[in-house]
Amino acid sequence: MGEAVRVKDLSVWYGSQKALDNVSITVPRGSVYAILGPSGCGKSTLLRAINKLVLLRDGVRVEGEVRVFGVDVYRDPRGEEVLARVGMVFQTPNPFPHLSIYDNVAIGPRLRGQSKGRELDELVRWALEKAGLWEEVRDRLRKPASELSGGQQQRLCIARALALRPGLLLMDEPTANLDPLNAARIEELVKELSREITIILVTHDAEQAQRLARRGALLFMGRVVEEGLLSGILSRPYSKVLQALVAKCRVAGGDGEATEPLLP
């Protein structure tokens, strides 16, 4: 099958602060891959380093290699092409506030000149159906997206990403700001989508990770401390795993890195 993403010796700095330190992970195709760790450990940074969104921030420096579907996205000119097939869903639902529900989904393919007219209508409908939102919005596609509830907005953002026909979907704690019911819907969705799309799911919820993913990585203070089957990483309760890491880090005197809040 080959891998969807291979990150090798990746380091990211925000100014002088090192947020990722020599991170290497391998994400196989056609599955859900979980990135776990306490908040501030660099999960979001790692996700944004994969699709280069991290470069939007000031003073960022990236070193190392990120291959998406075999292409080195930081050096290969084909990188842009490959990244056009990478969708992203964020921690806080962020539909475009000036666009209608329809246009939020349509804008990507439209601006990329990939489809228009009837074909675009079909694509929007398909994406909204996939995201489990179609029935709720079919009568008000022209209404502003801001009228939707938080959970609906997040599903709209999923539809917006799906309309790009992505081969890879990056999800940064997509349920963190939702109530349990809406969170459960999104989890269902992730399960379903993972049959066709590779998904990298950032979460600090170990149970969610185990429900959705088989493989993953555990990050701690910018480093990968474990990678592989989640059954192995989480053979002990997650809180115990984190406590052990914190204790080890104290003994090592912080290991020279700036200390950040260690627990979620």
């Binding site: 944004r48 699709n51 842009e80 506030p97 953002c157």
Partner: protein
């Protein structure tokens, strides 16, 4: 301990008294300006009625006349100046926000800084040398160019600020769609920020409307008719400048009418700016 807290209470009072009286003084100045303008101009405006907006000014010492031609040239000059100023200023603002740190953005920033720091009478003088002398006449065009230059830094800076204020999460959403950068900016972020751009343009308008110095040597002083783009012209602020100190009662009255119009227009523009920029909901 007691003494300490007493001293503190006294200082607090003093602080309050000083800042409050300064604020009151400011309010008084503002109220005074508005009141004087209103008291001086309302009778004129009431006496003239619609003629104020149509008739040319009367002869020195004669009838009142009106501000018709001046209003036309003001509208033409200010709109033209702000239009061109926006065509340049908005893209420059976009560049300064989206290519922050690039040498081009830094150069633009330095240039705008310089322009906004030069006294506006110098801008007028430069345009006089570059345009009015070769054309052998002051003109609406030359005045528009002067006002365009004066308004430019405001338009660009406001555009830049409003774009920079777009929350990172929308920016990330826009850039997560696999679009080329220029497309993400021009087709998503700028429309998202349409109000910010409108605010920038209106701010430039308010700026241009209020300035006198840039048009002093460039517009001419043709108050009785609008002579087209390359003919001599005038603006409201210029009319005030020439008419207010004149020895003719009717001209002084007209100047006050112009004052009220100018103040009203400026207030309308600035409150539009404020409303727009407050209403940006993200």
């Amino acid at each position: 301990m007691r003494l300490h807290s007493l001293k503190r209470a006294v200082l607090d009072r003093v602080f309050l008294a000083v800042t409050a009286s300064a604020t009151l003084a400011l309010l008084a100045v503002g109220a005074f300006i508005v009141a004087i303008s209103a008291v001086e101009s309302f009778p004129v405006i009431a006496a003239l009625g619609p003629a104020l907006f149509i008739e040319p000014p009367g002869l020195p010492g004669g009838e009142f006349g009106g501000l018709g031609p001046v209003l036309v040239s003001t509208a033409v000059i200010v709109s033209l100046g702000v239009l061109v100023g926006s065509l340049i200023g908005v893209p420059v603002g976009i560049l300064m926000s989206e290519c922050r740190g690039s040498w081009l953005a830094r150069a633009a920033d330095a240039a705008l800084q310089a322009i906004s720091e030069i006294p506006s009478v110098v801008v007028g003088l430069v345009v006089f040398v570059v345009l009015v002398l070769p054309m052998r006449t002051p003109s609406a065009i030359a005045a528009a160019v002067s006002l365009c230059i004066t308004a430019l830094p405001y338009i660009a800076a406001q555009t830049r600020e409003s774009l920079a204020a777009i929350p990172l999460s929308y920016r990330e959403a826009a850039f997560s769609l696999g679009l080329p950068r220029w497309k993400a900016v021009l087709r998503l972020l700028v429309p998202m920020n349409a109000r910010g751009v409108a605010t920038a343009v209106l701010l430039g308008g308010a700026r241009a409307l209020g300035e006198t110095a840039p048009v002093l040597f460039t517009a001419g002083a043709a108050f009785s008719a609008f002579y087209g783009l390359i003919g001599p012209s005038s603006t409201l602020s210029l009319l005030i400048f020439y008419f207010a100190p004149s020895p003719y009662e009717n001209w002084r009255r007209l100047a006050w009418a112009a004052v009220l119009l100018l103040v009203a227009l400026t207030i309308v523009l600035s409150s539009a700016v404020r409303r727009l920029s407050r209403g940006v909901k993200m």
